[in-house]
């Protein structure tokens, strides 16, 4: 099969070279293009990010169709959007937003404080199916004293609230159209929804009445095409059917684009933290020495080489280089098989140890688990691999029932280090010291103070290893050389198109 794939690739490339040569041979003197075909590996399930969790929904709609009170920029920092400014009371319990004038939804409906209030009430109400309803837990009541002022009254300080309001699940929707957003999204963004050919594509077009007159939107039509198979993704890119694949599916095919004259590649960071979670309530993982030994037994660099073609960044905690106050903590338990053996002996496992890892079918997970199996064997640990269908069976076995020894999965949510303080959560990890730091983050509203706490939190986890922290998945961008403005990194899963343009 591998030989065949190689053959196919070779043939694909020679054909592509011919095609790209033909394309570049006829230079057009016309204006730069104003259309874009962008490829994604996963089709969204519905187009309303406020009622379902899959990141693909936000990757189509967030910032393109829907906008929030605030937004999150390329650097991961909070920026004003539908709210032009805000004030937080000294006790951190009152947030007063000044809303923009002249913002209209795509159906002509005006945006004002009442709409914003209704939108947040919908997300936090009893009937809400918002995947991040917890974001709004601290809100006690909402006031709209005038059309341009929105006041959130909190029951306790919520230091992450502003950041959370920038997420796809917090976008502002109009109460009139909210129920139909799943199939016919209506927002305030620079692009209007025009068509969804299910199983194939979503089409957007430029919003001529976009409120932000300073924004220079240089695309008239955008087509998101959904192509799951990496070989087909590659064929679509090389043939020019697709202009860009911001998250290309197969790292092992990335080098094949370097020879291509028309395409370029760009490797950035995502928020996808690949971690091997352990059931901390179960023996032997309840013993910190065992967790430490298992971390020492793994060589992250080799794992990244083998599993993801050496693309990816090793991590020592549940945190990525995109995130504020990031610290490289991979040195705390470096690769050291002898130390691992000694620790296992100390913990009473000198005659070996065996357990099972439940592995989702995604290639990063299966490949990493296979490499871990070999590395663990070197220190006398026998790892049995149990394939577990993701998401359905994994969610049921690991996440909901917590019936597992070890598992491996990429955590997609940005800045989700607080999952180790959640109870219940699948790690079954309990550490009052860590919980206290997380609580302090929420009680703190000043950025510098929060950064110090995040640094402390990373360090606690890196030392306590409730999960084996492996690597951050790279963002494998492949796109036409003339296309500019796509995000290199992905501090939040997205395809923001407001700054994308074609050079002449």
């Amino acid at each position: 099969m591998r030989i065949l794939a190689g053959l196919a690739r070779g043939a694909v490339f020679s054909a592509m070279l011919a095609v790209s040569a033909a394309l570049t041979a006829s230079p057009s003197m016309a204006d730069p293009r104003r259309d874009l075909v962008l490829g994604m590996g996963i089709e969204p399930t519905g187009l309303d990010p406020t009622i379902a969790a899959p990141v693909a929904i936000g990757q189509v709609t967030w910032q393109n169709v829907f906008e929030g009170l605030v937004t999150i920029g390329r650097d991961g920092k909070v920026q004003p959007q539908l709210a032009e400014s805000w004030e937080i009371s000294p006790d951190g319990l009152t947030y007063t937003f000044r809303l923009r004038h002249g913002v209209k939804f795509h159906d002509g409906e005006a945006f004002d404080a009442d709409v914003a209030k209704a939108s947040i009430e919908r997300a936090r109400g009893a009937q809400s199916t918002n995947p991040q309803k917890r974001f709004f837990d601290a809100i006690a009541s909402i006031d709209a004293p005038d059309a341009a002022t929105l006041v959130l009254h909190l029951s306790r300080p919520a230091g992450s609230l502003l950041y959370w309001l920038g997420w796809p699940s917090s976008v502002i929707v109009s109460p009139k159209t909210a129920d139909a957003n799943k199939t016919d999204p209506v927002g305030t963004g620079p692009f209007l929804f025009s068509r969804w050919v299910k199983g194939d594509r979503v089409e957007l077009k430029r919003n001529p009445d976009y409120w932000d007159k300073a924004a220079n939107i240089r695309l008239d039509t955008v087509t998101f095409r959904f192509i799951p198979d990496p070989q087909a993704q590659s064929a679509a890119l090389v043939s020019g059917d697709v202009d860009a694949f911001p998250e290309f599916g197969a790292p092992e095919l990335m080098s094949s684009f370097t020879e291509n004259e028309r395409l370029t590649t760009e490797i950035g960071n995502t928020e996808l933290k690949v971690v091997a979670g352990m059931n901390n309530a179960r023996k032997p993982f309840s013993d910190k020495r065992v967790r430490e030994a298992l971390m020492h037994a793994l060589d992250r660099a080799t794992i990244i080489d083998g599993a993801w073609s050496a693309l990816g960044t090793p991590i020592g905690s549940h945190y990525t280089p995109n995130d504020r106050a990031y610290k490289d903590l991979t040195g705390i338990y470096p690769y050291d098989p002898d130390k691992a053996k000694a620790l296992l002996k100390e913990a009473g496992y000198e005659n070996g140890l065996s357990f099972t890892i439940k592995v989702p079918q995604m290639s990063y997970a299966t490949r990493t688990a296979e490499i871990m199996q070999v590395m663990f064997a070197e220190v006398g640990v026998t790892l049995s691999i149990e394939p577990t269908e993701f998401p359905a069976k994994w969610v049921q076995d690991v996440f909901t029932s917590r019936d597992y020894d070890m598992t491996i999965v990429a955590h997609a949510e940005p800045m989700d280090i607080d999952i180790y303080a959640r109870d219940p959560y699948y790690f079954n990890y309990r550490n009052p010291a860590f919980d206290a730091v997380m609580a302090k983050v929420e009680a703190t509203t000043d950025t510098a103070g929060q950064d110090r706490l995040y640094a402390e939190a990373q360090e606690i986890l890196a030392r306590d290893v409730p999960a084996l922290f492996l690597f951050v998945m790279p963002k494998l961008g492949v796109h036409d050389r003339k296309l500019h403005g796509l995000w290199k990194d992905e501090p939040i899963p997205s395809n923001v198109l407001s700054e994308v343009y074609w050079a002449e």
């Binding site: 694909v12 969790a53 064929a235 069976k393």
Partner: protein, 315 residues
């Protein structure tokens, strides 16, 4: 004949009902909760409960089955959890890809296999017969998805005659849509054609050896006329039977082929619905496929009765 037809139709309805109960039971005991999959890993218990209530997943299984059957009888198969549109609409869009695909594959395999099988049988041991044997063995041995990859290498990345995958939609023009179905239906048809060639060849040889054919030839009937008038009608019964069986394989094979060619057909929909535990869609798709197979078998039975007067007499 009418009485028989009515009895057979009654049997058909009962089979479909039994199949529906089985499908419903299997889909609902599969591990995995659609609400938990949709809301991800940060959802709280009350949010999950709200979504389950919205989807009707909190009601007892028997009630859900009854409601499903009742509305299915009126043509309403519910609303997809993930896409949010009526399942019938979703399936309609996908059938517009999968049905032509399966149909083309059947036609192609008949067009390849029947002339080849008949030709091989009429000149036994000749060059055509030897070619037919090799062709049949090779095409049976090659799985459809592998044939698909070979076809892509040859016809799209190599010669650029046909697209490597994707489906522009019928609204993009019949020709473009047809073009994108050529390679997939060929990939599906080739392995089936191999089987069908062998069956045709064997059936024609069988009948040719019968006494009545020899008598006809002895009475001076030319070889060609004997073949058309006496051999083919009698040989067609096993051919039609195998064709009916093959249709089942074609529908199953379409799932794989649609993935290789990135076609938004029923197979892709079924796969997607399964991973998302979109039970409403899964139920409807599996029900439709089983219904299709049952109905095709029924039609094959009818066709055989038409072809073979003895079967009619028995009934």
């Amino acid at each position: 004949m009418t009485g028989l037809l009515l009895r057979r139709l009654g049997g058909l309805a009962l089979t479909l009902l039994a199949v529906s109960a089985l499908i419903f039971a299997v889909m609902n005991v599969l591990p995995g909760d659609a609400a938990a999959i949709m809301l991800g890993t940060s959802a709280s218990e009350d949010t999950l409960a709200a979504l389950r209530a919205e989807l009707g997943l909190d009601r007892p299984l028997v009630l859900r089955y009854a409601a499903w059957i009742a509305s299915a009888a009126t043509g309403d198969f519910g609303r997809s959890y993930t896409y949010g549109v009526p399942v019938s609409e979703l399936i309609g869009e996908r059938l517009a890809v999968t049905l032509p695909l399966a149909l083309f594959a059947v036609i192609l395999s008949v067009l390849i296999a029947v002339p080849l099988g008949v030709g091989a049988a009429s000149r036994r041991g000749g060059a055509l017969d030897r070619f037919a044997t090799v062709f049949a063995q090779m095409s049976v041995a090659m799985p459809a998805f592998w044939v698909a990859i070979l076809l892509i290498i040859l016809f799209s990345t190599g010669w650029g005659i046909f697209p490597a995958g994707g489906f522009p939609g019928w609204q993009a023009g019949g020709l473009a849509a047809l073009k994108s179905l050529v390679l997939p239906s060929l990939a599906l048809a080739l392995p089936q054609a191999g089987v069908l060639t062998r069956v045709t060849r064997a059936a024609v040889l069988d009948v040719t050896g019968e006494d009545f054919v020899r008598t006809a030839r002895a009475k001076g009937l030319p070889r060609r006329v004997a073949l058309w008038r006496h051999v083919l009608p009698n040989a067609s019964v096993p051919i039609v039977t195998v064709l009916g069986l093959q249709f089942t394989f074609l529908v199953a094979g379409a799932v794989l082929i649609e993935n290789v060619f990135n076609l938004p057909g029923l197979g892709r929909l079924a796969y997607q619905a399964l991973t998302q535990r979109d039970i409403v869609v899964m139920q409807a798709v599996v029900m439709l496929l089983s219904g299709l197979v049952i109905v095709v078998n029924f039609l094959v039975d009818l066709a055989q009765m038409r072809l073979d007067p003895r079967l009619r007499a028995l009934a």
